[in-house]
Point group: C2
Chain length 196, copies 2
DNA sequence: AGTAAAACCGACTGATGGTCGGTAATTACC
DNA sequence: GGTAATTACCGACCATCAGTCGGTTTTACT
């Protein structure tokens, strides 16, 4: 019954899998549509039948990778108790994950380059950044930090985290760097904490 | 005497000027080398005689724009007295300038896309970010904030500022948004200030 | 003037994103 | 079950554009 749908799904997934591997290892610019088609054992026309442009393929890959990563982070953060502590733990996980080659390549390097900063920021914020405003609101509600407009502050912190992730990704001693930035981030967030 | 040098400089500048205008208005991808050559009233070969690649042209433009902007910011910041206050004022100027179309296009959109995040971050940090570590060191020296590793904290703040600038650039009511983010940034920095 | 070197020219090439007319598989309808 | 319509897929072809290269003009030096 759903034969056609299955067929479509299978091809689509083959393309996406191939694309993710290629984008992750060689980067967006160095990956051609012919490469993707060949790697997915499909003709170029098929790729264009499923995705309008090369950017569209990338966007789909980006979305998938982000989705996977955010799920991972959620699992980590859920283990913490304090809202601020969860924020910090999640951040550290984000560092560690994006520091690993392929994911960092897709999310931090090519992401903004291909999608455009605005769109990238928007999507990234939608996936990861949504957690920060929520955490801040909760923290204010709980009286942990001073009441103030949430959005601007959240944006600043997201920028800080992202920048740190990139800096991390570019360093040899990732573990150490991650710890360093996590500590700095913690001190920044803790500075906001009101004296009880 | 320096006729040859003058000739070279004039052509080079014509190319750079044309490129800056085109990159600023249409963006990097939508600007072709032929466009640049034509706009500079020069043959394509001449452009390649002066710059090895299209990226090289962009890098030169980027450098120039950054240099100009940083000089402007310096002038603004110098007017302030407190180190932290100067940091905040400079930040606000950065917001305002990058929010204006062409400069934002070059520095915030295409910059990372073309040069690659790592290189962009490095250059951007070199131009703008260098000020933050210096300001933080000074602030620690003066006992305004707690002593701690400077580099990680500076990186976080730079990321926060950049993110805010981008967010600003994407909004219609730039003045209002700039003020909002500046206030949030101020509260973040002020949170670090030690009680006297 | 004569020669060397540097600046400049613009037709050409190679690579690649995207198109399009056609074929094969699947589904809908009688 | 046959046939028409729809959907998936194919791969040769096209347009664009970064970058090349042999040739020409302008400048510098003797």
């Amino acid at each position: 019954m759903a034969k056609q749908a299955e067929r479509r799904a299978a091809t689509s997934e083959a393309i996406l899998t191939a694309a993710q591997r290629l984008f992750g290892t060689h980067g967006f610019a160095a990956t051609t549509m012919d490469d993707i088609a060949e790697s997915a054992s499909v003709a170029k026309g098929a790729v264009y039948h499923h995705f309008k442009t090369k950017e569209a393929v990338f966007a789909a890959v980006f979305d998938q990778v982000s989705r996977d990563l955010v799920a991972e982070i959620d699992r980590t953060a859920r283990a913490e108790k304090d809202v601020l502590a969860a924020l910090i733990a999640g951040t550290q996980h984000y560092f560690a994950a994006t520091a690993k080659g392929p994911i960092g390549q897709i999310i931090l390097r090519d992401g903004p380059a291909v999608l455009g900063w605005e769109r990238w920021r928007e999507i990234d914020a939608q996936h990861f950044g949504g957690k920060i405003p929520r955490a801040l609101s909760a923290a204010m509600e709980a009286g942990l930090i001073a009441r103030q407009p949430v959005e601007p502050l959240a944006r600043l912190l997201l920028g800080a985290v992202t920048e740190a992730a990139v800096a991390c990704a570019g360093r040899a001693d990732i573990a150490r760097a991650g710890a360093e930035y996590a500590r700095a981030f913690k001190s920044l967030v803790e500075a906001l904490r009101l004296p009880t």
